[in-house]
């Protein structure tokens, strides 16, 4: 019994529901025998990995789906041992560099060289090369990316690399210029609704259009999330037609809304303490701080005057940036809260708080 997200994940390029042009391109590339290095990028939940899996299947046939997990040990220059789990089939291998932290360069170098120097053993294999899929490629350190550069050119004969990233901004130019860039945009609301309807049909229940559009509006282009919400909803209310349905938001989002309400309702030292406790709560539940600040800012902005919106967003961006450079996330979250309160109070009561800014 698997989740619907996995159960109805398209297995081949024909089954993909949206971006038909992209699928046609991928199919013809996979068939042409002249397969380049590729870089898939797009927002999360848009279907990048699904497409990569489909391409692998198109390249190698069903054998690419027989996965095994292997534990590999790497030795860093400082003689520290690193255990890395590598997901692999006979034809490809998947790496997630964030698993290895700062030693990603060594792992990339060793694994790629090893793959590159061994030829495909299986004589029946459709392709002469193997594929290395690197997930979250935008998390690779600069060093690791530099290490990829020549390797990608040198071992082109028996190695292809597929990079998967959320954005190309953090990839160095030499890597981008060596790959075929494939943009996977988020599905449009109509496309998402059609996917939801498809899943509902397969699961044999009736999905009223209003519920579908409600879910899609919540999911903001993230199909994975839409499907998860749909499944949760179906579990809670077996009959989707009957009552007025409330589409459940994730807990942390409702919690963020509450915090935003607190900020707008009162601005005082005591309130900062309350908010602080709540922020700690969120962080200790492993919600990424940058997501917290983003959601909070969104919620606060909904409730304030037009003149304040731009400022609040500006400071959110400012403190989010500081947060990346700094060490302790909570400081910057708090700083933002205080800033917002100060701006708000300044605006509402027209109190001169210029001295406070410094």
């Amino acid at each position: 019994m698997s989740l619907w997200v996995d159960k109805y994940r398209p297995r081949s390029l024909e089954d993909l529901h949206y971006h038909p042009e992209l699928s046609a391109r991928l199919r013809s590339l996979a068939g042409s025998g002249d397969f380049p290095h590729m870089l898939f990028y797009g927002p999360s939940g848009a279907g990048k990995k699904t497409r990569v899996a489909c391409v692998l299947r198109e390249l190698f046939g069903a054998g690419a789906e027989k996965l095994k997990i292997e534990q590999r040990v790497f030795l860093t220059p400082s003689k520290r041992k690193l255990d890395v789990n590598v997901v692999m089939s006979n034809y490809h291998l998947e790496l997630t560099p964030s698993d290895v932290g700062t030693y990603d360069r060594q792992v990339i170098q060793e694994i790629l060289k090893e793959i590159a120097q061994t030829q495909q053993v299986d004589l029946n294999a459709k392709q002469r090369f193997k594929v290395v899929v690197i997930n979250e490629a935008d998390q690779l350190s600069r060093d690791a990316q530099a290490a990829l550069r020549r390797t990608m050119e040198k071992y082109m004969s028996n190695l292809r690399i597929i990079l998967v990233a959320n954005s190309t901004s953090k990839l160095i130019a030499p890597i981008k210029s060596r790959c075929l860039l494939v943009r996977v945009a988020a599905p449009t609301p109509e496309e998402m609704e059609s996917v939801l309807a498809y899943v509902a049909k397969k699961e044999r229940f009736d999905l009223p259009p209003e519920v579908a559009s409600g879910i899609v509006a919540e999911a903001t282009g993230n199909l994975r999330r839409a499907l998860l919400v749909l499944e949760a909803l179906k579990m809670q209310h077996p009959d989707l037609n009957a009552e007025k349905l409330e589409i459940a938001k994730p807990d942390w989002e409702t919690y963020c809304t509450k915090v935003a309400d607190l900020i707008v309702a009162e601005q005082s030292a005591q309130r900062i303490l309350d908010v602080r406790a709540k922020l700690y709560e969120l962080i200790s539940h492993c919600i990424p701080p940058s997501l917290i600040i983003k959601t909070l800012a969104d919620r606060v902005v909904e409730q304030v005057d037009e003149a304040l919106k731009a400022d609040i967003m500006h400071w959110a961006a400012f403190y989010e940036h500081r947060m990346r450079q700094g060490n302790k996330k909570i400081f910057h979250l708090e700083a933002w809260v205080v800033k917002v309160m100060s701006i708000y109070k300044h605006f509402m009561f027209d109190i001169d708080l210029t001295g406070f800014d410094e």
Binding site: S28, L29, S32, R149, S157, S167, T168, A317
Partner: protein, 362 residues
């Protein structure tokens, strides 16, 4: 029994089907004469071919200008394909290049006296009595490793020449830089870029229209490698459709990750930048308008850096904005670019940039 004694069939070691080779490797210049642009450097280096004397060298310049190609072509012309393997050591960032490698691998290679050239192998090549060590992407070597090179370079100068290749000459420590004669590789101008692209396209039998070549040149900023890769990718795409289509300038932009003009113009319009094909209703969107435009971009999967650079071009070249407005925008762009390269959240930064530009232009 006979079959055992027979020498095993000679298999070509790296049997790469030339059709599958990346064009950048296939059309890498084989001789110094093939190198596009860089007349000055080529001229100086050609003299060394005749005089058998080569200084330590430091090649620097932006990517895709032919640094690695030049040194490879030079050493091939010096030693010929046979001796190339024993006389040239090429190390790049994909090899481990810490201080230990400098101490062992590089030093050992540098120490060996080159064997007397085999008369047959060296026929037709000058084959000077020294070896060459190429340190590609030398700016990614650590300071310590560079420091360890200093003495090695001097001690074995008689039998080994070094060639450092890098993008940023400032990252090479001063003592190393002063031991080398420096060659700057400048960005390729449009005309030599065009000649080379047309040559490759012709050799591959790909039909390209001038507009496609223009798109290639403008998207690649003088980086020849990039434009050739784009050309190959575009060719792959167009050839693999049935029936094989022609390459469109639009394809090149999609491959290069350039955002379609219509999308950027619409975004610019919602920030209050007046354009030709922008309906001015979008301008009055205020906060919500900007927010919606940003969300559209993020959902489309476009990279924030790309948005920034294209928006920058629109604003700076805009005919109607005042100098003051432009400079305000330039300040904002610079700040956001810094934040983005620090790894800040793309959506927030884009939103912040949008709102501030919108304010600045009001």
């Amino acid at each position: 029994m006979q079959s055992f004694l027979k020498p095993p069939k000679q298999q070509p070691k790296h049997a790469v089907d030339p059709a599958l080779q990346p064009w950048i490797e296939k059309y890498r210049p084989k001789t110094m004469d093939d190198i596009s642009a860089q007349e000055h450097t080529v001229q100086v280096l050609k003299k060394t071919l005749g005089s058998n004397n080569l200084p330590h060298m430091l090649f620097y310049g932006p990517p895709g200008t032919g640094k690695t190609s030049t040194i490879l072509a030079l050493s091939r012309q010096l030693f010929g394909p046979e001796l190339f393997r024993s006389r040239v050591l090429e190390l790049n960032a994909s090899d481990e290049r810490g201080i230990s490698v400098v101490r062992e691998k590089i030093k050992n290679f540098a120490r060996q006296t080159p064997r007397a050239a085999d008369a047959e192998a060296s026929r037709g090549y000058p084959c000077p009595p020294y070896k060459i060590i190429i340190l590609d992407e030398a700016d990614s070597m650590t300071q310590d490793a560079q420091a360890a090179l200093r003495r090695v370079m001097e001690t074995y100068a008689k039998i080994t020449r070094f060639c450092l290749v890098c993008n940023y000459v400032t990252r090479i420590i001063e003592p190393l830089a002063s031991r080398c004669s420096k060659f700057r590789f400048h960005t390729l101008d449009a005309s030599s870029n065009r000649t080379r692209l047309e040559y490759v396209a012709h050799a591959e039998g790909v039909a390209v229209t001038p507009s496609v070549v223009d798109a290639l040149i403008s998207t690649s900023d003088g980086d020849l490698r990039r434009s050739i890769t784009y050309l190959q990718s575009a060719h792959r795409l167009s050839a693999s459709t049935t029936p094989p289509g022609e390459i469109q300038a639009r394809d090149i932009q999609e491959i290069a990750g350039v955002i379609p003009d219509a999308v950027v113009n619409r975004f610019a319009g919602s920030l209050g930048v007046e354009g030709e094909d922008v309906d001015m209703d979008a301008k009055k969107g205020g906060y919500d308008g900007v927010r919606k435009a940003v969300q559209e971009l993020v959902m489309g999967g476009y990279s924030a850096m790309q948005v920034l650079s294209q928006l920058h071009d629109i604003v700076i070249l805009h005919p109607l904005l005042s100098g003051r407005q432009k400079s305000r925008c330039a300040l904002i762009f610079a700040e956001v670019d810094k934040n983005l390269s620090d790894g800040a959240d793309e959506e927030l930064q884009l939103l912040d940039m949008g709102l501030r530009v919108w304010k600045a232009l009001r």
